[in-house]
């Protein structure tokens, strides 16, 4: 599908409009993103690929509302991130967004179950422990729920991270090289699980990866080079 074909799609879940991002550095302003435009519909899966330093992770972070672009705009479900306050964006993420990180990013001082529960507890939900138990069962870690991250292998940690990402029933899931820190076999299992969960829950998936096989499993592929979209296709 070409860029021009997108106007035919229903209302996009994610829309990036001329997104630019630059950082101040010792040698002046460093432009990371140089005008990125794309749209993503509900239920679609998108892989962002490209060489290191091309701006993939920055774009993912901006799409997830973790920072504001220097110029341009990003809308999630029709709502521009920059129209919200910092805490407003956090609350919105809590309701509608899931995250999976390359280095798992479990909170080391919480048990697996507590890590999974964190998004729900954050919004004050009570009596939701059974949901964590269910999700841990789905990822096959029922017997490890009281273990701390240090007591889990990398693959197990990423499975806890997946459970945490899905427990709030997100509309969109962002994954930053979700298998990047895992061996191929474990990576493949996580990959399966990620797509299966995503399929079951109908979430939109945006992932950054260097893995061509993983990228190939996505419906769409956004290739970046030097802060710009080199190619965007289905």
């Amino acid at each position: 599908m070409s860029e021009s074909d997108q106007s035919a799609n229903p209302a996009p879940v994610l829309e990036a409009i001329d997104v630019r991002k630059s950082y101040a550095s010792a040698h002046g302003s460093l432009e990371i993103l140089k005008g990125v435009d794309f749209r993503l519909s509900a239920g679609e899966t998108l892989a962002i690929v490209g060489p290191s330093g091309c701006g993939k992770t920055t774009l993912l972070g901006l799409c997830a509302g973790l920072d504001n672009p220097s110029s341009g705009s990003i809308k999630l479900q029709g709502v521009a991130w920059d129209s919200m306050t910092e805490d407003g964006r956090a609350a919105y993420r809590n309701r509608h967004v899931g995250f999976v990180f390359q280095n798992f990013q479990l909170i080391p001082t919480l048990t697996a179950r507590e890590n999974v529960l964190a998004p729900l507890e954050l919004r004050g939900e009570r009596g939701v422990g059974h949901l964590a138990d269910e999700w841990l069962a789905k990822v096959g870690l029922s017997d490890r729920q009281d273990h701390y991250p240090i007591q889990l292998s990398g693959g197990e940690q990423q499975r806890v991270a997946l459970a945490r990402a899905f427990i709030n029933d997100p509309k969109i899931l962002f994954a930053d090289e979700p298998t990047g820190n895992l061996d191929p076999e474990t990576g493949a299992r996580i990959e399966e699980l990620l797509f299966a969960l995503n399929r079951d829950h109908g979430a939109t998936l945006v992932l950054v990866t260097h893995d061509h096989d993983l990228a190939a499993r996505c419906q769409r592929r956004l290739a970046m080079r030097s802060g710009q979209i080199a190619q965007l296709n289905a």
């Binding site: 973790l66 920072d67 809590n94 990013q105 919004r123």
Partner: protein, 841 residues
Amino acid sequence: MSFTLLTAWRDARSQHQRLLLCAISIVFGVAALVAINSFGDNLRATMDKKALTLLGSDLRFASRTPFSTRAEVFFEQLGGEQSRETRFNSMALFPTTNDTRLVQIRSVDGGFPFYGEFETDPAGIDVAGASEPIAIVDPVLLALFELKPGDPMTIGQQTFTIAGAIVEVPGESAFAGLFAPRVYIPSEYLEATGLVGYGTIAFHRVDFKLPPGADADIIAANAKLLLDEERIQYNTVATKKKDLGQSLENLYRFFNLIGMIALLLGGVGVAGAVQAYLRGKLEAVAVLRCLGCSVGAACRVFLWQVLAVTFVGALIGALLGVIAQVWLPAVIGPLLPFEIESFVSWPRVFEGLGFGWLIAALFSLLPLLPLRRISPLRALRASYQPQRKFDPLVAMVWAVIGVLLVGYCAAQTQTPWHGGAFAVGLGVALIIFTAAATLLRKVLSLAVGRGGSYVVRQGLANLHRPNNRTLFLVVTLGMGAFLIQTLFLIQGVLLSDTELVDSDTEPNVLFFDIQSDQLNDFTAIVESEGLTVADSAPIVTMRLAAVNGRSVTEIKSDRGQKIDEWILNREWRSTWRTEPSVTEEVIAGEFVGQWDGLREPVPISLELDMSKDLGVGVGDTLTFDIQGLPLQCKVSSIRKVDWKRMRPNFFAVFPEGVLEGAPTWHITFVRAPTPKALATLQRKVVEAHPNISAVDLSVVLDGLRDILGRVSFALRFMASFTLLTGIVVLASAVITSRYQRYRESVLLRTIGASAAQIRAIMAVEYLAVGLLAGVVGALLAWAAAAGLAIWVFETNAPVPIWGTIATIIVTTALTLATGLANSRGISNSPPLAVLRAEAAN
């Protein structure tokens, strides 16, 4: 339970040790405050309870001359009961051992004390009502000359029988008879001593038990004119309590400032430990933000932890303070005129707990508030750092700490500017340490090249690379060294008077009350013992009658006048000289050594501090009343006097040719080479002239050292809180930086560095930090002690060369030792074990 509380609790479960580090720095500061404040309450409560016994009567009048008929008429009108005492110093001879000693004679009659009990051993000796020549004496005399009840003692021409020892006199401390032990005799036998008469310096006192309904303070206030004119001083329970309370309050406030230093140092330690703790939490904060946690909620998670743990620290401190308080009466008790009743003052415990907690919480906020700036992007990219911007909330916390500090210090010092200067001084010190650490980092970043030893380069590089702990370590260690060394230097300044004359050449015995007609005979006795008079001066007693034409009575009645009452009331003992003595230096005007009789105004030389107290300078006039004769004088010169040298020093020195006709007595200083020669000389002089008194300066020095030793011990006791805090902060600072060095040390081990190399890298780092902190801290302490000595204690600035070197060495060595002790686990363990342990942390 809210999410933030729940997460705070969960997150803290495996962080006990690190969180404890955040709290431990505050423990001794809170302990010091609680101990001091609780002790202060004990003092006040005891004083309130024993108010009446502080004086022993309702009203007391005292004069340096016998009371005039006018005064006696006034006393008769007051009614009630009277009790009289005449007090003077004289030599006592103990025939049993043939020893002599300067004692303080107190001849008494009447029923004093009217309140409280005059305790003796054996109990119940009534010396005032005795019809025989008995004496009760300070126990020190019995111990000194191995005397016992029944032994004789001769005072002047009368021999008394020692009936017992003094145990307690209402309103007097155990040190009351330190320089001249107290001897009570019946007033009936005073005259028989032959010592009270013309030329004797005696104090006359009358105590009243007033009739019911009479108010001592109102009586004294109504009689102010009469009392001023007759130069009679008065004391009531209220004035005694105020005077005593004031001096105890000063001591208490000084101790409180020391406690505050410990607390502040602890606060700095808390800030550093919390900062180190939170550095390990940055990614967790970013993840929480990614999961939808608000900025406030993310910060609150760690705020609850820090508040809880600092509360625990403050609580432990408060408990320690309660325990330490039990020791304070033992330390300070002997300096006080009553026994302190020790009890736990709960309001003070809660106050110390609350204030300590507040200080700890405020210092914790300094590293905690920047958590608000942590971007959720950090979860994706650990290196992501938002641009550093001015944070108004952090500035506000600094402002609150500053206001609290200035307010607290100003409240604790008698002079508000002292408190303000103390707080500003601490602020300036903080800025200097920050500047020194920044400079070190800058210099190292420019100077450390690629050559030289890898170990040295790596150690020094650790001090200037990103996420270094140089600033925190230099500030905490340096502030610790600075505050503790300043405290020790000031203690040295306060105690420096014990270093009076202790040389082999200075005089060591002083004789006074030598009448003019006794001088030649006295000199002959001295010379017959093979000794010589080192210095001598004639003395004429006088009183100040007017300053620049304003009479003393007029000055006293002026509420705006700033001259101390003691100067206006005191009996001046002045001398005449043809030139300044070896202990004097003329700093303004011209010293006039000769004058033509009583031609007024007579040029006199005034001592510098006295001129300041009187507010006069060269050219101003003073009128003295010399035994009834007014003499107008003009200040012709101002002298600086070295009071530490045991020579005849005077506030006012007249020229030769003016005072010779006035009643005169003499003071002489003699050097006796051995204690035996000293004892023989004293005995021969007393035998020949019982009215001449001798003061053994070595005894005075011993007494001074005894008192100052106790004060010094009390100071050290309080300083130990600061010292302990300093050590805890040092250990905490080093331990927290250990966590930071963990990962790279493990990496170095992994790529083949030996344990010795890792230790050497750390040694270079801690050596540099300790050295910088020690040098800056010691030099700042020198400057601070000099400033305090000159402007607050008005004495000479110390020159602590060895103390400065010692501070630098001790700070460096302690930093190095603590650093290396804490690196043991890193350098000795297998990398894998350390990696796993590091990950668990």
